[in-house]
Amino acid sequence: MPAPRVSIQAEDFNLADEIAALRKIDKRVGAVCSFVGTVRGANEGNNGPPVLSMELEHYPGMTEKSIEAMIDEAHRRFDIFGARVVHRIGLLQPADQIMMVAVTSAHRGESFKACEFLMDYLKTQAPFWKKEQTPQGAQWVDARATDDAALERWGIAAGNA
């Protein structure tokens, strides 16, 4: 059975283990690019209210399906060998890892581009929602227009925020 490309899980992940597994898939790999998103302890340039914790909700089924489609699209657009996305759900604490993307290619350029493409795509098209707990109460995180603009650079209309 091929290694899974997408995992949605409550448990933490180990980036080094994930990369090691991804690199093993193809010995032509000469570049690995990865991104890890983590929980900020405060927003608005650290001037916002402290974030005490974060709850992540998702749409089981659609989440996996949408990210699989994004990886397929990354393979069509870039000369990459493999890609892996792990995204956590449930209750997270400041500084916790939220998610990771890792991509392999022969040379760095394609990995860098594909990694950023997958992040831009996921931010506005994968059905996850964050709710932050602050001293003033819980609030759903607002989608950002800058994330829509980031995806539009790749010629894809985001239509999210």
Partner: protein
Amino acid sequence: MKVSVKYFASVREALGKGAETFDTSAPTLDALRDELIARGDAYAQALARGKSVRMAIDQVMSDGKAALTEGSEVAFFPPVTGG
């Protein structure tokens, strides 16, 4: 036709439920949204036109013109914020 409808995040909280199944004659997502808005109260507020609500049919992001079919799985939710 019978459709199953799912709600997530702030929409789910506003409606106090995450899913329901019912019969509808709405041909499109927009028509189904209007039918739900017509129920009034929490539905009218959570799904109000002009409010940022995203929609999916059979787990694919879709716009309001997308057609419903028997057994469609429809979802209404706020803009996504993962990553």
